[in-house]
């Protein structure tokens, strides 16, 4: 028995992983096939909960919102994060100050972020009011009150909060690039932006994968931001899956329905994680 001590030491972790992660997940999936209400029970109803779930307009709207929010925030956070990091990496003055400013929103919770942006986007005293008092009297900017735009209002807040962290991850990646590479490209006379796109970014693949996973996990669990900014309104226009799960489990006292919805969320997480695992672990063998 090699490394017996190490194996004993890892027992608590293995136990936690098996019982809490695997065990509870299995329990949840099992009960999503029952008609549990306030308390879990074992009355098997097959796929009834799933049929009802996909027949519910609120769930469909939630999934659609998550897709818009997910794609946009993935793309925009990565772009903003990388551009900010690249700018900071140009050996500018007061780099530390800027870094702190950009990272600062990340120190705020989603609830605070949501409330702040609820006020900023409120037509009575936010951006719209400021623009109108500056002379543009016909300006209307009230995304949170427009069912078609509300998810973008939430997106703005999400990106404001999250891109600082991505910037830091990217900056760490950029700092890890050997200075000789920069010298070599300069000797060859390659323009700076071309160096970034064709040389630096391909070298930063692992950093990008990490950033993507960080953003993706944030997207799937987005809940508090919506709750603070719009509580799902106007109407059901800004509902998200996590909020559906909470509301069905605790307000509607329908655990079965909530479990079915959270199982669907688990499936979507798996869809995100499996390609990541493939890129991270499967990729190495091919190198």
């Amino acid at each position: 028995m090699k490394n017996l001590n190490a194996k004993i030491a890892s027992i608590p972790m293995i136990f936690t992983a098996l019982v809490i992660f695997v065990g509870c997940t299995a329990w949840t999936i099992y009960h999503s096939f029952t008609n549990s209400r306030l308390l879990p029970n074992n009355n098997w109803v097959g796929f009834d909960q799933y049929e009802r779930l996909w027949d519910t307009k609120r769930w469909i709207v939630s999934v659609g919102n998550l897709a818009i929010y997910g794609v946009c925030s993935l793309v925009i956070s990565v772009i903003i994060g990388f551009v900010l990091a690249a700018l900071l990496d140009r050996k500018i003055r007061f780099e530390g100050v800027f870094r702190s400013i950009f990272l600062f929103p990340f120190a705020l919770s989603f609830i605070v972020t949501g409330l702040v942006w609820q006020w900023i986007l409120n037509p009575e005293f936010g951006v719209q009011k400021v623009l109108q008092s500056l002379g543009w009297e016909n300006v209307t900017f009230d995304p949170l009150y427009n069912p078609d735009l509300v998810i973008y209002g939430i997106l703005i807040a999400g990106i404001w909060q999250g891109s600082g962290l991505i910037m830091c991850v990217m900056l760490a990646g950029l700092r890890g690039i050997d200075g000789d590479i920069w010298k070599a490209t300069r000797v060859d006379g390659i323009k700076t932006w071309k160096t970034y796109i064709f040389v630096i970014i391909p070298m930063m693949k692992p950093v990008f994968v990490t950033a993507l996973v960080l953003i993706a996990s944030g997207i799937i669990k987005v809940y508090d931001l919506v709750l603070a900014q719009t509580s799902g309104g106007p109407g059901i226009a800004s509902e998200v899956p996590a909020k559906y799960v909470y509301d069905k489990m605790f307000n509607a006292q329908n655990l079965g329905q909530g479990f079915a919805a959270s199982t669907m969320m688990l499936v979507s997480v798996a869809i995100v994680l499996i390609p990541w695992a493939y890129l991270q672990f499967g990729g190495k063998k091919n190198d």
């Binding site: 209400r37 306030l38 308390l39 009802r52 519910t56 307009k57 609120r58 037509p123 009575e124 009150y145 069912p147 509580s231 799902g232 309104g233 106007p234 109407g235 059901i236 226009a237 509301d247 069905k248 605790f250 307000n251 509607a252 006292q253 329908n254 329905q257």
Partner: protein, 410 residues
């Protein structure tokens, strides 16, 4: 340093001594608006005066959210001493799981069966012949509140019923007033729709749909009219942008909005603002059409606690809530109706008197939460909040989905 130690010791000692003389009970509730807080203070005062200690634990999350917190605390093994819950089916499963205190002995000693009116209140506290909660007031959501100032500014008389109100809407709009203030939260959309239902369809179709869950009636002519009326209401409320019910009530109080459909708990707000019923505002039960009110309301439940002292204190609190003096003090502040017919409410205002008269005539309906499950309620709320906020949703589509919800209801 020594000083601090002494102070600490003294603090601990006084803490201990106050524990031994009075039993502290944590009481959770979601009465957080101005009028509600004033009312709950009356309960706390009465409990403290009786020698025990009321530890207030207000949850600022509105009925739905607060109930979720309360239920998960009880389920999670961290029960409070007493808690507000709407009586209805919320508590049924908690009782089945043996988590709530049986109050039958208190009820028998204090003769609740005889004094509590209407008796349906006690029935909804009763589960398999045992009593599990103490009703504290009667609340009905079918009221239309009208601002006299708004109608005066628009130069028209205050309406006497729903159709007059709808007819007055264009004039209000012209005067720069919001005709109907509806908060954007789901439960408010649902409440407004339900009040309109009773006014437009009358009692029988309402009963068939909500009590018997008859999907055919839900898809029929009467409900078509209800959805058309709701569509009118949604059009005249479209400009409102508030979330909380008391923000909408505040607009009516200030005269910026013509009216609001809200439960009689709105009255506490009018009272707190120093307004007088009949002079500054008018209330129309059943929207002035069908003068019936439902008799839901708030009730206190008492989770099972291990400590015998605290259990005794719970029973003392339960008995206290029903007593005449407490009932009068609490309900006058809250704007709700007392749960016993034998109290003297001479100081009650116009609106409360209207309510008492309806109760005395026994023109009562069951409360929505007593006839449908939380699950169905949440489906209805989802549908109504969408209907209310999405002008592109037609009445036909809304009714079609309403039928589906009723067909699945339990």
């Amino acid at each position: 340093m020594k000083m601090i130690k002494k102070l600490l010791a003294a603090a601990v000692l006084t803490g201990l001594s106050s524990l031994s003389s009075a039993t502290e009970l944590e009481v959770s509730h979601w009465w957080t608006s101005g009028g509600e807080a004033a009312a709950v203070t009356e309960l706390a005062k009465a409990f403290d005066a009786s020698g025990d200690k009321w530890k207030d634990s207000a949850i600022a999350a509105g009925g739905g959210g607060a109930a979720a917190i309360i239920i998960s605390r009880i389920l999670g093994g961290d029960p409070m001493g007493a808690t507000q819950l709407n009586h209805g089916r919320d508590a049924e499963e908690l009782i089945k799981a043996g988590l709530l205190q049986d109050l039958t002995d208190v009820a028998e000693k204090e003769n609740w069966r005889e004094i509590i009116r209407p008796s349906s209140l006690l029935d909804s506290c009763t589960f398999e012949g045992r009593i599990y909660c103490a009703p504290v007031n009667i609340h009905s959501p079918q009221w239309l509140w009208l601002s006299h100032k708004a109608f005066k500014d628009a130069g028209i008389p205050v309406p006497k019923n729903w159709s007059e109100f709808i007819a007055a809407a264009p004039a209000l709009d012209k005067a720069g007033k919001l005709p109907l203030a509806v908060g954007q939260q789901a439960w408010q959309s649902n409440l407004t729709f339900n009040a309109i239902t009773i006014a437009i369809s009358g009692l029988e179709p309402w009963k068939k749909v909500y009590v018997d869950k008859n999907a055919e009636v839900a898809g029929g002519e009467e409900f078509k009219k209800v959805f058309e009326a709701a569509d009118q209401a949604r059009k005249i409320s479209a400009k409102g942008k508030m979330q909380d019910w008391n923000a909408a009530t505040a607009m009516v109080i200030k005269g910026d909005a013509g009216g609001q459909i809200m439960g009689d708990w709105a009255q506490g707000e009018f009272q707190l603002a120093g307004q007088v019923a009949g002079e500054d505002y008018t209330c129309l039960p059943g929207l002035g059409v069908t003068e019936m009110i439902s008799t839901g309301g708030d009730a206190f439940y008492f989770p099972v606690l291990k400590d015998a002292e605290q259990t005794a204190a719970q029973k003392r609190l339960a008995a206290l809530i029903i007593q005449k003096d407490t009932q009068v003090a609490f309900n006058l502040k809250k704007g709700s109706l007392p749960i016993r017919g034998d109290v003297d409410l001479e100081t009650a205002n116009d609106c409360m008197k209207k309510g008492i008269k309806i109760l005395a005539g026994n023109n009562v309906l069951p409360d929505l939460s007593q006839v449908i499950s939380a699950d169905t309620m949440s489906d209805l709320e989802d549908l109504m909040v969408e209907f209310w906020n999405d002008p592109s949703m037609t009445t036909e589509e809304a009714q079609e989905r309403f039928v589906k919800v009723i067909a699945r209801a339990d």
